[in-house]
Symmetry: C2
Subunit: 197 residues, 2 copies
């Protein structure tokens, strides 16, 4: 079979860059971490980091071993606007978690809960790769958007805990559409309802 | 100071009983674990287990190192009936987690997420010590009650994850009453609202 796409590159160099990236994202957060500084820590040229991993968000996803790039899935969910977004978000979310990618994602969550640095990575991932995109695409009041987004995250994380980690019945084996119908309205209210009723 | 209450008992014996209890609860679940079998595993008389730890639910709380006995707090919350229970449950829950007991509880959750056996213990704890009591005291349709209860648990676990473990802002530092006002209605709907709207 012919080799296609990028060469894998020197494995040690790749690993050194990923280790430097994990450290930078965990210690400084996504926004303050820079490719230049990660390259310096890894002892390579910044251009090599770009060459191996692409832009910062792609490097972050690789460093976290994120099983999917949430960008496309979120674009699809939010492109329909606020109407019905609660159900669409729960359906997309459960579809990913019920797929093989869900196993890797569960490992990420387990690690985040046990280790402070991975908790910070997960927080950065949820904030910058998921919630920020959702907020940016929906026409939310900027003074309320961060609280709305973190409430959405709390219910979705709880769904993950109950269904895939703690395996609490009957939620753990409930049909996906049952959860879409019951949890969807919660997400809808957190995003578009009044916040205090 | 005079010694009051029960004698602490032989420390090795207590530890042997607790180890046997953890194994039994994790492997067989709360309902199927028996004091008699735990005593046999620990090589002691069942009466001694009762003497040291009291009834099965007390032994379970001690074996889990549960920071509080949820029984009383739940009785207080559910005694007011379904009206307003969402806000009362969130307020009670956050009050416990914001107290020193919350630190021990966070350790429990971390352990449950990392280890299968403690995930099972936490599931048994949530199911038998919390949800079962809530269901028993509220007049819920028995065919819907288990799903309602596990939906409540999903949102409360997610609140714990977002506020105390991942520390997602602004939820992590939001005033308690903000969360009572925003998450309370979710719990209320899961317990008393129609399940599909």
């Amino acid at each position: 079979m012919p080799r296609t796409g990028r060469r894998p590159g020197n494995q040690d160099t790749r690993e050194a860059i990923l280790a430097a990236a994990r450290q930078a994202f965990a210690e400084r957060g996504y926004d303050k971490a820079s490719i230049r500084q990660i390259a310096t820590t890894a002892g390579v040229d910044p251009a090599l980091v770009h060459h191996y991993f692409g832009a910062k968000d792609k490097l972050f996803l690789t460093a976290m071993e994120a099983p999917i790039d949430p960008g496309k899935a979120i674009d699809q969910v939010v492109s329909g606007g606020l109407a019905g977004i609660g159900e669409r978000l729960v359906r997309m979310f459960l579809t990913v978690w019920d797929s093989p990618a869900g196993t890797s994602a569960a490992a990420l969550v387990r690690s985040a809960v046990s280790h402070d640095w991975s908790a910070r990575m997960l927080r950065e991932f949820i904030t910058t790769q998921i919630l920020r995109r959702v907020i940016a695409k929906l026409d939310l009041d900027p003074t309320e958007a961060p609280l709305r987004a973190s409430l959405v995250a709390s219910q979705l994380m709880g769904l993950i805990m109950a269904r895939y980690i703690i395996k609490l019945e009957p939620l753990a084996t409930a049909p996906r559409e049952t959860l879409v119908a019951t949890v969807g309205p919660t997400i809808q209210r957190y995003l578009s309802g009044p916040l205090d009723q």
